[in-house]
Every structure is written in structure tokens, then in C-alpha cells.
């Protein structure tokens, strides 16, 4: 019995009864772990406990939500259709940049089109869908590993083009030598180049509580309560936004993808995954299906990018390095490609334990050793730590380098999963291409002759 099977067997039957309970139970467990650990850290550091706990839970909720969103979108490509798309970061970048450029004021630097934000978001999704449709063209004729190279190349092309000063739009004087505003039929815009670009909104949930002039009625109540508990207003707005993402958008993605998956369209996608030749032999124009699924999936990735990177008020091209794609892929693989519940579970497990877990553990180790031996000695570099011959200094260096060791851990997890459990936690839930339950072997009694 592998580690994964044992972990699965240890989950109480109550949570396994249905998917909502499973995800809720997972979130609850995560919150309890993070709540206890951040409360402990706050107590050690003499900080406000309520603020620390809610802040930690809000930030982990946000990460869980965005990774679940993107893993769901990727599930449509990889889990359902078997298209090995590792250009996710590029499509996220297209979404975020398209929204920012459409919404930026024409007089700003870089200039934009000045559309209202909702229109800009819809426009950005359409643009991402079109780019996704173009990216699908290679997918029509390439094997999975070639497609991987093409999509990662495409995502780097997108990032490099956004990074180039040639289209930056930062020099708006047409007479100046470095004039770099893009001018298409009189519509001028720019990408901001390496300096990055402002996104229309930072803290999108703030509108619920605040207006230009003061607080809304809800804001007065909630901010008042938060203030009484010692929780900062930014923690409240961040937490609200994370909650909206988790309850609103993740649910919407889940419902949408489940409906796509169970529709005739979805069954063709799964048939393509299983054996494209068979799907073609049955008269399905698989090329059209691939283009469509690329457009839908990329638009969903674009929206995921907007909700995630578009919510900080500022973004630059280096946010969209291929590492982001690998994060999302890991999330999906951990959860189990081919199952929407698996995608959500994977997003949650990845964000809570693989991505943020090491940092949290390092914080706990620091706090505990502070209680036991006073603060940990810190070494400026590996050599200094090594020649100190002091286990505490080694521990201090390990804790300081946790941001890098996290990746080593992540890599080891990927290798372990591929060797031992390539289907992920929920791999057994991979949906088949059939519309009926294939494991259901009950013989229907009505009609037909019996053997006797």
C-alpha cells in the first residue's frame, strides 16, 4: 500500500461521502493547522492573535482559490482532452495584460483604451480565447511532448514580447527618439515593458466596504467589528476577496467544467484523450474540438490570471515565468488530472502544503528554537554555515534558505508522484469517456431471452 493509499484510507468516511464534504473537510483541516500555527507564532512574537490568524487564513484561502481555479482550467486541457499545455503562464499574462491595457486611461503612461473594467475583463477573455485558438493550431498535429515544447515556447514568446521596451508605451512623445507607443489605426496603447503595468484595481473587495467618500453601511458594521477584535481593514478586504474567489469563482468554474465534462462535447474531449483515432473514426472532427477546448480553457486561464495577478494593482512580465505553469501543473497532478474535484483538492493541497507549508514550518522551527535556545544563529552563506560545525547554525541556514529548499521539495514531490502515484490523490476519480457508469454491471431483467 503506497503512502497515498494509506493517507486516503485514514480520511474519515463522513468526508468521503460526497465531494462538498471532502473539500470542506480538507479546507477545515488546513484552516485548523494554519490557525493553530499562526496563533502560536503570534503568541511567541507578542502580536495580535486575531489579526495574525485571520490574515494567515485569508492569504492561504486566496492561494487555494487561485490554484484551484487554474488547476480546473488546466484540467479541461490535460485532464479531459489530454492536451499537454504547459503555456499557462503565457495565457494568464495575455488575460491580465489585455484587461490592463483595455482599462487603462488613454492619457496614462503607458496609454490604454479607457474602457470600463467589466467591459475590459470581457474583452480580455475574448482576446485570450483568440490567442488560445491560435495556440491550438500546433496542437492539431503534434504529439504531447512536442506540444509541451511549443506551448512553453509560446508562453516565453508572450513574456518576452511584453517585456520588450519596443511596445512599452512609456515614451509618449511621438517626436522623442525612444517613442514606443503601439499605434494600431489611431488606437494607441503600450505594455509598460519591463517596468510592468498598472492593473485597474488593487483590493477589488474594498468596494463592498468603502466608497470614495466614506464607509458603506456594511463597511461600518464589519470594520467596527474587526476593529474591536484588533483586525486590520486590509486583512478584512483581502479575506473577503479570497472568500469571493473560493465560494463564487471556484464554484462557478467547477459547475461550468462539470457541465462541459458531462455534455456530449465533453465526452468527445475524453474520447480524444483516450484515443484520438477512434474519435475521428466515429466521425468527430477532432481538430475543431481541440480548437474549441483550447479557446475555452485559455479564456478560463486568462480569467484566473486576472483574478489572481490582476488583483494586486500592478503586474510585470516576470510574474509569468514558466515556473508558474509548473506550479499549476503540480497542483493538478497532486490532485489527480481528469477529475474536477481532484483539481480543487490538488489546488488546496498544493497551495497549503507544498507552496506555503515549508515557509510555515520554517516559521514554527524558528519560533520553537527561539523558545528553547534563544534566537537561531544565522549564517551569511553556505560556506560560513558549513565551517561553523554548529548544528544550530546549520538549522538557521536551512530555515533562512527555505524559499529555495521549497523548490527542491517540490521537485522531489513531482518525481515521487510520477514514480508511485502518477494519477494523484483523486486519480481513481478520472472520468471515463462513457456516458454510463462502466462499473455498473447489473443485468437488466426486462426484455431479452435468458440463457436457459
Amino acid at each position: 500500500m503506497s503512502l497515498g493509499d494509506r493517507a486516503w484510507a485514514a480520511v474519515p468516511a463522513y468526508f468521503k461521502a460526497n465531494d462538498v464534504r471532502l473539500v470542506a473537510g480538507l479546507l477545515l483541516g488546513t484552516y485548523v493547522l494554519y490557525g493553530v500555527s499562526s496563533a502560536f507564532l503570534a503568541a511567541v512574537n507578542n502580536a495580535s492573535m486575531a489579526n495574525a490568524v485571520i490574515n494567515e487564513i485569508a492569504s492561504i484561502t486566496f492561494l487555494i482559490a487561485v490554484y484551484a481555479l487554474l488547476a480546473l482550467a488546466l484540467n479541461l486541457h490535460w485532464g479531459y482532452t489530454g492536451l499537454f499545455n504547459i503555456g499557462i503562464a503565457g495565457f494568464m499574462a495575455v488575460g491580465v495584460y489585455a484587461m490592463s491595457i483595455l482599462a487603462a486611461s488613454p492619457t496614462a503612461s503607458p496609454p490604454g483604451l479607457g474602457l470600463p473594467v467589466p467591459v475590459a475583463v470581457v474583452g480580455a477573455l475574448l482576446i485570450t480565447a483568440v490567442v488560445g485558438g491560435l495556440a491550438a493550431l500546433p496542437a492539431l498535429q503534434l504529439d504531447a511532448d512536442y506540444l509541451a515544447i511549443v506551448t512553453v515556447g509560446l508562453s516565453e514568446i508572450i513574456r518576452l514580447v511584453l517585456n520588450a521596451s519596443y511596445f512599452a508605451g512609456t515614451v509618449t512623445d511621438p517626436e522623442a527618439s525612444g517613442y514606443n507607443v503601439v499605434d494600431v489605426f489611431g488606437i494607441t496603447f503600450g505594455t509598460g515593458g519591463g517596468q510592468g503595468i498598472s492593473t485597474p484595481s488593487s483590493g477589488p473587495a474594498r468596494a463592498i466596504y468603502e466608497t470614495e467618500t466614506g464607509l458603506t453601511p456594511i463597511g461600518e458594521v464589519v470594520y467596527g467589528a474587526a476593529d474591536a477584535a484588533g483586525v486590520g481593514t486590509s486583512v478584512v478586504t483581502d479575506g473577503t476577496y479570497a472568500l469571493v474567489l473560493l465560494l463564487g469563482f471556484v464554484t462557478a468554474y467547477y459547475v461550468l467544467l462539470s457541465r462541459i465534462g458531462n455534455s456530449p462535447f465533453g465526452r468527445v474531449l475524453k474520447a480524444i484523450r483516450e484515443d484520438e483515432l477512434v474519435a475521428r473514426s466515429l466521425g468527430k472532427d477532432t481538430r475543431l474540438f481541440k480548437i474549441k477546448v483550447f479557446m475555452v480553457g485559455c479564456a478560463l486561464m486568462g480569467l484566473g490570471g486576472i483574478l489572481w495577478q490582476g488583483s494586486y494593482g500592478y503586474v510585470n512580465p516576470n510574474t509569468f515565468r514558466p515556473i508558474v505553469t509548473f506550479y499549476i501543473f503540480t497542483a493538478l497532478i497532486v490532485g489527480g488530472a481528469g477529475s474536477n474535484t481532484g483539481s480543487v483538492v490538488g489546488g488546496a493541497v498544493f497551495a497549503a502544503f507544498l507552496l506555503e507549508g515549508p515557509r510555515q514550518v520554517a516559521g514554527l522551527v524558528t519560533a520553537v528554537s527561539q523558545l528553547l535556545f534563544g534566537s537561531l544563529p544565522s549564517a551569511p552563506n553556505f560556506y560560513a554555515a558549513m565551517v561553523s560545525l554548529d548544528p544550530l547554525t546549520w538549522l538557521g541556514y536551512l530555515v533562512d534558505s527555505v524559499a529555495y529548499l521549497k523548490f527542491v521539495f517540490l521537485g522531489a514531490v513531482l518525481v515521487y508522484l510520477m514514480q508511485n502515484r502518477p494519477d494523484g490523490i483523486m486519480g481513481h476519480r478520472k472520468e471515463t469517456a462513457a456516458s454510463v457508469d462502466l462499473s455498473d454491471r447489473t443485468v437488466r431483467g426486462n426484455g431479452g431471452e435468458s440463457d436457459e
Binding site: V150, N381, F382, S401, L405, L410, G411, M418
Partner: protein, 378 residues
């Protein structure tokens, strides 16, 4: 007879592959334009500059030389990628980090030697972490460079064989995609294990003040070529010839070619597959490591991202040359290197890598067997 065949072939291409024709036209236009630019003439049609301009011949020669140098490194590293692709049937995304491993292990060794042979002021800790600025050149410490070159190969081979033992060997039969994903895991773990020891800083490692440089005269100027670049070219070319002789003249080389061409047939014939796989890793890993050492020798700076940034260019080269072909990988690498530098004649430098990736995507779409027509390692 032959002529008419060629003619009908060309006609078929024209009708069936319009995109190929378009690509050919674009390349043809660029070549004519380059010729016009070199000649310093312009062709105007109705007031619109159609082609031409002026570019110094020496400038173009510099681009070509730069491209050749980068291309040799890409080609050298590409040999291993192409071989693992054909023999183990997966795209190894960790190959870039084998280059990084080679760069760090080689320069680590070179610095240790330099600490002994040169009169170094810096504390040993800084030398150990390759942090002491700009110590080594082929002139002041040829021994350090030579030992670094050997160490980059040997240590990378050790790391590569260890990784094969713990990661890839247990999953030989799992298929391309699980292996590809595992290799992404290996890439991350290896890169950040290096960061754990050496840190994320970019450091200058070569002493540039005293290295001799010759100016090769070209029509209207000169092209500088320094000793480090010469070292790179000599080392890369001789290693490529070494690989050529190994593949063509030894029994193991023949076995490798056989296995790349048809794995099942090779196994049936009694070729020891595991030994061939191990040799593949040794040659591929060693060349990748040495390529990493050489590119740092030429550029002068070392950081943990160097291999990952080269990886897609190497993929471009390998795909251009035809996956599985060692000579294709070398040729494709050189073409990609020169194309990405020569493209600077037309476009800003921000887009040099964009051009290389675009070439890769176009080749995959329209000629997946590579420019040299899918000639295998034979």
C-alpha cells in the same frame, strides 16, 4: 526526366504547403534585404522603402561570429538532449540544469585550483562559493581552466548518473509524459539545490583585463576575437569531432545508433540496453556540463539560471536539426545561434530569443523531422 521530377515536386509543394512557400519567400526576402543592406543600396517603390538600407559588413560579421559561438554551445549541449530524446524517448527538461551543474562544478574546481596557483587575496570562503570576483583567465591560470573543463564534465556526469539511478531508471517504461514531468521535478530540485549552496547572485568569474584579443579585419572594419572565445571554439569543435568518432568508429557508438533507430530491434539483437542508456547519459551529461563551463568562460558571468535560459534555445536547435540526430543537433544549434544573433540586423535585441522560439515552433509545425530531413545518427 530528373528536371521534370524536381519541377513537379516544387509544384506540389507550392500547392500543398502554402505556408512553407510563404516561409521560403520571407527568408528569401530577408536574404535579398541583407545583401542590399550590405551593399548600402535601397530599393524604393512609390516612396516606400521596400528593402535595403545600410549595415556595416563588419557588424554582420560580428553577429555571425557571436551567433557561431552561442550556437556551438547550444549544439554541444543539444547532442545530449537529442540522444536522450531518441534513446529514452522523452523531452528532458532537466537538461538545462545539467548545464548549470557543469558551470558551477567546473568553476568551483577552477577557483580552487586558482586559489592554490594564483596569489589570491580573497578569503577561502569566497573562493569556495565562487564569489571572489573575476579571478581566472586562460592566460593567468591555464591549468585552472583546463581542470575546470575536465571537472565540469566529470562532476556533471556523476550528478546525471545519480539522478538517472534514483529518478529515471525506476520509470523506464512509463512513457514520455510521466518522464517529462519527472524531469521538470528534477530540474527544479537540481537548480535550487545549487542555489542552496551557491546562492542566487550573479558573479563575474573571468579575469578580462589581460586576455589577448585579435582584431580580424573585415571589409569595412574589424571583428574582435579574444582568447576565451578561441578556447570555446577549439574545445567545442574538438568535442564534436570526438562524439563523431565515438559514434562512427566504436562498437558502443554503433549500438547507440541502432538503439536510437529502433529500440526493439536493438534489444532483440542482444544490445545491452542499460549500458547504452548509461553511455548516453555519460556523453550527454558530460557535454552539457562542459558546454556550461565554456559559455561562462566566454560570457564571464555565472548564475543559477544560465542553463534554464539556454534550454529552450537548445530545444529549438535540436528540433531544427531533427530530434534523434546528433549531427542535426549540432547543425541546428549553430543555425539557431546564428539566426538569433543575425536577426538583430532587422529587429531590436529584445526579440532575439523570440525569433529563435518562433523558428522552433514553425519547424515543428511544418517540418517536424527537422531541416536535415530526419537523418538519424547514422
Amino acid at each position: 526526366m530528373v528536371l521534370s521530377d524536381t519541377y513537379s515536386d516544387a509544384r506540389r509543394t507550392l500547392v500543398e504547403r502554402p505556408a512553407v512557400v510563404l516561409l521560403g519567400l520571407v527568408i528569401g526576402y530577408l536574404l535579398v534585404d541583407l545583401a542590399a543592406k550590405l551593399a548600402g543600396t535601397t530599393v524604393d517603390v512609390a516612396g516606400v522603402q521596400l528593402l535595403g538600407g545600410s549595415t556595416a559588413v563588419s557588424q554582420v560579421a560580428r553577429y555571425v561570429l557571436d551567433g557561431l559561438i552561442v550556437g556551438l554551445v547550444i549544439g554541444l549541449a543539444g547532442v545530449g538532449l537529442s540522444m536522450t530524446y531518441s534513446i529514452l524517448s522523452f523531452a528532458n527538461f532537466a537538461h538545462g540544469d545539467y548545464i548549470t551543474t557543469g558551470a558551477f562544478s567546473g568553476w568551483f574546481a577552477a577557483y580552487l585550483v586558482a586559489f592554490v596557483t594564483l596569489n589570491v587575496d580573497a578569503p577561502f570562503g569566497n573562493v569556495f562559493l565562487v564569489n571572489a570576483p573575476s579571478l581566472v583567465s586562460v592566460v593567468n591560470a591555464p591549468l585552472a581552466v583546463l581542470i575546470g573543463l575536465v571537472a565540469s564534465g566529470v562532476l556533471t556526469v556523476a550528478v546525471v548518473l545519480f539522478l538517472d539511478r534514483i529518478v529515471y531508471k525506476p520509470m523506464r517504461d512509463k512513457g514520455g509524459i510521466p518522464l517529462l514531468i519527472a524531469s521538470i521535478g528534477v530540474a527544479l530540485a537540481l537548480r535550487y539545490a545549487i542555489v542552496f549552496v551557491f546562492g542566487t547572485g550573479t558573479r563575474g568569474v573571468t579575469e578580462t583585463g589581460s586576455i589577448p584579443s585579435v582584431d580580424i579585419p573585415v571589409v569595412d572594419g574589424y571583428v574582435p576575437l579574444n582568447a576565451h572565445e578561441v578556447t570555446l571554439i577549439v574545445a567545442a569543435v574538438s568535442l564534436m569531432f570526438g562524439v563523431h568518432f565515438l559514434l562512427q568508429r566504436t562498437k558502443l557508438g554503433k549500438a547507440m545508433r541502432a538503439m536510437a533507430d529502433n529500440k526493439d530491434l536493438a534489444q532483440v539483437t542482444g544490445i545491452p540496453t542499460e549500458r547504452v542508456v548509461r553511455t548516453t547519459w555519460i556523453i550527454g551529461g558530460g557535454l552539457a556540463g562542459i558546454a556550461g563551463f565554456l559559455i561562462v568562460l566566454e560570457r564571464g558571468t555565472l548564475n543559477y539560471n544560465i542553463g534554464w535560459r539556454l534550454l529552450l534555445l537548445i530545444f529549438s536547435g535540436v528540433i531544427l536539426g531533427g530530434i534523434g540526430s546528433v549531427y542535426g543537433a549540432i547543425g541546428g544549434g549553430i543555425v539557431i545561434g546564428i539566426a538569433s544573433r543575425l536577426s538583430l540586423v532587422w529587429i531590436p535585441s529584445d526579440f532575439a530569443r523570440v525569433v529563435a522560439f518562433a523558428v522552433m515552433i514553425l519547424v515543428l509545425l511544418y517540418r517536424p523531422s527537422g531541416l536535415f530531413g530526419g537523418v538519424k545518427t547514422a
